[in-house]
Structure formats: C-alpha cells, structure tokens
C-alpha cells in the first residue's frame, strides 16, 4: 500500500525520516532516483538517515516502477521519496495506485516561481502538477505532517 509520495530535493534527511515515517506509520521507504544508486557517498548519507525499524530501498526510476508494478511492494506501508516533480509524475503516470503526492521542498532555480513556502516550480513543473491533479491525485504542500495542508490546485 502506498502511503505517500513526497517530493523533496534533499530526499531523505532528518525531517523526512523522523516525522513523516512516524506520522504515516510507514514500514518501508523507497528512494526513487536515478543518481543515488550510482553515487556512493549520497547513497551512504541517505542510508545513515534511515529511522530504526524501517526498510530502506534505493532504486532508479525505471526499476522503481518495475518493482511497484510487480507487486513486491504490496505488503508494505510504503513511503516513496523523489527529488523532483518530473520524477513524481513519471511514477504517478506509470502506477496510478499513487493517490497522494506531497510537495515538501523544491529549491528555487532559474525560471522558477515560488508557489508556497520552500516550494519553487518551473512552468513545465507546474504543468506536470496540473496533470497529476487531473489524474485524480491529491497534490498538497507541507514541510512536516503537522503543518496545515495546502492543496496545490489552490496556489497554481
């Protein structure tokens, strides 16, 4: 069961690891990212941030989609973390069982617009968010679980 897909450019770090895993009651975290599996230092840092008692699986986007579709993740309360809206949209399109997307932190880059605290989107990313919403996904903005949920459709 997919509890949540979170977009956070920092991927797994203290804030995500502690508060979200606890709040969701997740027993498995999937880091879906094309760089981490081949970047040893980044991979180690993420493994060190893992909360106790939770399984942590790191896969590139294609392998993540394959794993999700194969059913091996069904037995977990799964918390997926990606670093970009584009990666989130790839997973959502390939695996419609993902119904909740949380925008946690997306740092400002060239051409981005600040749509909410800590969330900055390029025009193309805004389109991808809209596409996910049209597919029936709830896209919301929160740093930590106790923050008030802001629906992306209200700020785009």
């Amino acid at each position: 069961m997919i509890k949540l897909l979170r977009v956070d450019h920092r991927l797994l770090h203290g804030q995500v690891a502690f508060s979200w895993t606890n709040n969701l009651g997740a027993d498995c975290i999937l880091i879906a990212n094309d760089d981490v599996p081949v970047n040893e230092l980044r991979k180690t840092t993420i493994k060190l941030a893992k909360p106790q008692g939770v399984r942590l699986v790191i896969k590139n986007i294609a392998d993540s989609i394959e794993a999700l579709k194969s059913g091996v993740t069904d037995k977990y309360k799964l918390f997926i973390v990606v670093e970009s809206v584009a990666d989130a949209e790839k997973l959502v399109s390939a695996f419609p069982e993902i119904k909740h997307v949380n925008l946690g932190g997306i740092k400002a880059k060239e051409g981005t617009r600040n749509i909410s605290k800590a969330v900055n989107l390029q025009p193309e990313e805004e389109e991808l968010v809209k596409k996910m919403i049209q597919q029936g996904v709830e896209v919301e903005i929160r740093q930590v679980p106790s923050d008030k949920k802001i629906l992306a459709q209200n700020v785009l």
Binding site: G14, T44, V57, A67, V72, S146
Partner: protein
C-alpha cells in the same frame, strides 16, 4: 499533562526550540528558560515561575544544558517534587526523541531512559561512520 522545559545558560534553550520546530513543526508543550540573559532576572525566580505553571497531576521533564552547571544545579534542588524529572546534557537528537516518545510512551521514567539511549547512538564521528560498508536492502 507532560511538559518539557529546555533550560540553558544564555539562549541555547530558545534556539533549540526554534530548531526543533523547524524540523518537527510547532510545539505546544515545550517551555524554555534562558538563564542570565537579563541582568535583573534571577534564575531562582525563573524556575519558580515555571513550576507555578505546573498542575498537580502534571509532570515536567527538564532538559538542562550541562551536568554540574549552575542551571542544572539549581534544578537539582527541585527534585523532591516528584512531578519533576531532570536530564542534563541538552542536544537536538535527545529533544527530538523526547518529543516523539512523549506521544507513545506513557511511563515517564521509561520514556527518558529510552530517549537517552537512542539519542546517544546518534552522536557520531562521521568519518568513521562513512567508512563502514552498508548493504543494499531489497523489497
């Protein structure tokens, strides 16, 4: 109710709360005591003021900055009051553990023991930590 009081020489306590709230969101049951910040305010009355806010069935977990320091020493004198639990050695992992466990562990003594054990494990010399090879996990 169980409250946490962060107590420090100077502004560590309020800084700690600010950092904790950045990570864990707004907190309601955490108080702070910054000692020796204002010349006219004495520590003794700051402590008395904090304890006055405490109801008869409430408990207070005090986290002081350092064992043997004057702030901790001053709180040592309050320990006859069984509502008060005193921990010396404030640090971020410890405070996060206390807040997290406060919602789960109802026995306050056990809560404190577990929080201390867990937070000590996150004081690390990182150069040595990254040298360890971690196995990849699978589904």
């Amino acid at each position: 109710m169980r409250y946490i009081l962060l107590a420090s020489h100077g502004r560590l306590a309020e800084g700690m709360l600010q950092t904790v709230e950045m990570i864990m969101g707004a907190q309601r049951d955490i108080w702070t005591l910054n000692a020796y910040v204002e010349e006219q305010v004495d520590l003794h009355s700051q402590i008395r003021e904090a304890l006055q806010k405490l109801g008869g069935d409430d408990e207070l977990i005090v986290v002081s900055d350092i064992f043997g320091g004057s702030v901790n020493n001053e709180f040592m004198n309050t320990l006859e009051d069984k509502r008060i639990h005193l921990i010396a050695g404030m640090n971020l992992p410890l405070v996060i553990e206390l807040i997290t466990l406060k919602h789960i562990e109802m026995d306050t003594k056990q809560l404190i023991q577990t929080a201390l054990k867990n937070s000590k494990a996150s004081n690390k010399y990182c150069n040595a930590t990254v040298a360890v090879d971690f196995e990849d996990e699978e589904f």
